[in-house]
C-alpha cells in the first residue's frame, strides 16, 4: 500500500525513538545514555523540525538530565528523574503512534472516496 511520504517519515522517526528507548531499557541508561548523546540530540532537533514538539522537549529534558551521570556516585534522585523522563517519552511516543495510525488510515480512506 503506498503511503504519504510525510506520514511514512513520521512513522519512521517514531520507530527510531522506539529503537533507541529499547536499547536504553536493555543495556541500562547509565551504560548507553551518554554514549548516544549526539544521536539523541540529532533526534531531538529532527523531532522539533517535524512539529513533534512535546516529544522533542521531553527528549531535551532527558538529555539535560543525563549530563549529571558524570557524577560518581550517581545521586539516587537523579537516577529516578532520568528513568521518569524515559518512561514519559515511551508513553508519549505510544500516544503519537496511535494518533498517527488513526489519522493516516482516515486520510487513505478519504482519498479513496
Amino acid at each position: 500500500m503506498s503511503q504519504d511520504p510525510d506520514i511514512m517519515e513520521s512513522f519512521s522517526i517514531l520507530d527510531v525513538i522506539k529503537i533507541k528507548l529499547n536499547d536504553l531499557l536493555i543495556q541500562g541508561i547509565e551504560n548507553i545514555g551518554i554514549r548516544s548523546n549526539s544521536e539523541l540530540l540529532d533526534l531531538k532537533n529532527k523531532l522539533g523540525e517535524m512539529n513533534f514538539t512535546t516529544l522533542s522537549e521531553l527528549l531535551g529534558s532527558f538529555l539535560e538530565k543525563i549530563k549529571g551521570l558524570s557524577q560518581k556516585p550517581i545521586p539516587l534522585n537523579l537516577k529516578k528523574e532520568i528513568s521518569i523522563e524515559v518512561l514519559r517519552i515511551i508513553a508519549v511516543t505510544r500516544m503519537f503512534e496511535r494518533i498517527m495510525n488513526i489519522e493516516s488510515v482516515k486520510k487513505t480512506l478519504q482519498e479513496v472516496e
Binding site: M1, Q3, I7, M8, F11, K18, I19, L21, N22, L24, L25, I26, Q27, G28, I29, E30, N31, I32, K79, K80, I82, S83, I84, V86, L87, I90, A91, V92, R94, M95, E97, R98, I99, M100, N101, I102, S104, V105, K106, T108, L109, Q110, V112, E113
Partner: protein, 379 residues
C-alpha cells in the same frame, strides 16, 4: 484497602523506575520474585489491570533471563510502561477516586463476571491458533451467534492448556467437547452448528465459557454440516465499504497511553480476495518478522493481510502463500486491525464455494485422545 493500594503502587513505581535505569542486563531472579510479590498484592487489592500488566511483565522478564527466542522487547516495554502508568495513577488514588471515579474504576479493571445465557445457537466462522512457547497452546474459536440477544455477534471461546512437550494445538481438537452427552470431540464444532444451554457469557468481551458451568448442556447438530450457506450469508453483516470503515474509525474511543500500537477495530468479511504479492519485513530489527500479503478485493480501499511469522501462524502463512496468484477467493473472514497507518487483516476463516475452512488448522491424521487424557489428567 486504600492505604495498601498506595503502598503497592509506590513499590511498583519505584521498582519499574529502577528496572528502567539499570536495564535488563542487570536483571536477575530477584526481579522475578519481586514481580511475583507485587502481582499477588495487586490481585488481592483487585487492581486487575495492574495485576495483568505485572503478569505479562513477569513472562517477558523470565523469557529474557532464560534467553528464550520468544522474548519480545516491544511487549516488554509495553507492559513495563503500563505498570508504571497504572502505579503512578494509584499513588494518589484518593484524589483520583474522588475527582474522576470513572477513570479510577477503569484503571482498576474489572474481573470477568459472566451472566448465564439460557440458550445459544452457534456456528464457528473462524479459528485462531495460540502457541506461546513453553507456556500455552490452544485455540480461540470465533462463533457467529444465530439466536437471541447475541444474534449476529461474534462470540469467542478460548480452549487453551499448558504447553506439553510434543503436543501441537491441533491435538486439543481431539479432546471431549465439554458438557456433551454422549461425548463428542471438539473438532465436531468446526463443521456443525451447536446449541448450547446455560452458558456463562461476558458481554463486555463477547466471551463464552463452554467448560465452566456444570449445568451447561451442549448439543452438536450433526445434520447441519452441509448447511453452511445460512451462516455464510450472515457474514454479510461484516462486509464494509470505505465510508463505513471511515465512520468506525472516526467514532473510535479516545487515545490513551495504554493503547496498543496495533489495535483491533472490528471483524470484517472481505469478498473476492486475490493475493497478488508477498513480502516479509522486520528480520533486520531483532523482532518477530511479519508476512505482508498484498491483495485486491471487491471494494476499492487498500487492505493488506499481515501475519506475524511465529509458530502458531506457520500453517496460516503456508496457506496464503499457496493462494498467491492462484484464484480469487469468495471471501475471507478476518480481524480488522489498525497497524502502522494501515488497515490490516488477520484471517480467521476462508469462504469458498459455500464452504468455510480454517486456514490455520493442520489436519491431524491420528487420534490423540488417550495421550491427551494422560498428559492433562483429564477423565
Amino acid at each position: 484497602m486504600s492505604i495498601q493500594l498506595e503502598t503497592v503502587a509506590v513499590q511498583v513505581k519505584d521498582y519499574v523506575e529502577s528496572l528502567a535505569f539499570n536495564g535488563l542486563n542487570l536483571a536477575s531472579e530477584d526481579n522475578i520474585k519481586k514481580i511475583e510479590f507485587f502481582l499477588q498484592n495487586a490481585s488481592r487489592l483487585e487492581a486487575f489491570r495492574l495485576a495483568t500488566s505485572l503478569r505479562y511483565l513477569h513472562i517477558e522478564l523470565k523469557r529474557f533471563l532464560k534467553n528464550r527466542t520468544a522474548f519480545n522487547i516491544e511487549r516488554y516495554v509495553f507492559f513495563l510502561s503500563n505498570c508504571w502508568l497504572l502505579s503512578r495513577a494509584f499513588v494518589s488514588q484518593e484524589k483520583l477516586k474522588e475527582e474522576k471515579p470513572n477513570i479510577f474504576e477503569n484503571l482498576m479493571g474489572t474481573q470477568l463476571d459472566p451472566e448465564i445465557k439460557s440458550k445459544l445457537i452457534l456456528k464457528v466462522v473462524g479459528t485462531e491458533k495460540v502457541h506461546l512457547e513453553g507456556t500455552i497452546i490452544g485455540f480461540v474459536f470465533y462463533f457467529l451467534s444465530l439466536f437471541g440477544k447475541t444474534r449476529g455477534k461474534i462470540l469467542k471461546w478460548n480452549l487453551m492448556l499448558p504447553y506439553k512437550s510434543g503436543l501441537t494445538a491441533e491435538a486439543l481438537l481431539n479432546l471431549d467437547l465439554p458438557n456433551t452427552d454422549p461425548s463428542k470431540p471438539v473438532e465436531t464444532i468446526l463443521l456443525n452448528y451447536i446449541e448450547a444451554d446455560n452458558i456463562p457469557y461476558v458481554e463486555k468481551d463477547n466471551i463464552i465459557f463452554l467448560e465452566r458451568n456444570k449445568e451447561s448442556k451442549i448439543y452438536v447438530d450433526e445434520e447441519s454440516g452441509e448447511d453452511t450457506q445460512v451462516s455464510i450469508s450472515k457474514l454479510d453483516k461484516f462486509y464494509y465499504n470505505s465510508k463505513e470503515i471511515y465512520q468506525k474509525i472516526s467514532k473510535d474511543h479516545e487515545v490513551t497511553p495504554f493503547d496498543l500500537p496495533a489495535s483491533f477495530l472490528d471483524y470484517i468479511y472481505v469478498k473476492e480476495v486475490n493475493i497478488v504479492d508477498i513480502d516479509k519485513e522486520g528480520e533486520e530489527r531483532e523482532q518477530a518478522p511479519v508476512y505482508n500479503f498484498s491483495l485486491t478485493h471487491k471494494e476499492d480501499y487498500p487492505l493488506v493481510i499481515r501475519i506475524p511469522d511465529k509458530t502458531g501462524n506457520f500453517k496460516l502463512i503456508q496457506e496464503f502463500k499457496k493462494l498467491k496468484g492462484k484464484r480469487i477467493i469468495d471471501g475471507v473472514f478476518c480481524k480488522l486491525i489498525l497497524d502502522n497507518g494501515q488497515l490490516t487483516l488477520y484471517p480467521l476463516g476462508i469462504v469458498h464455494n459455500n464452504e468455510i475452512t480454517y486456514p490455520n488448522l493442520t489436519k491431524s491424521t491420528q487420534s490423540n485422545r488417550e495421550l491427551l487424557k494422560s498428559v492433562y489428567k483429564i477423565k
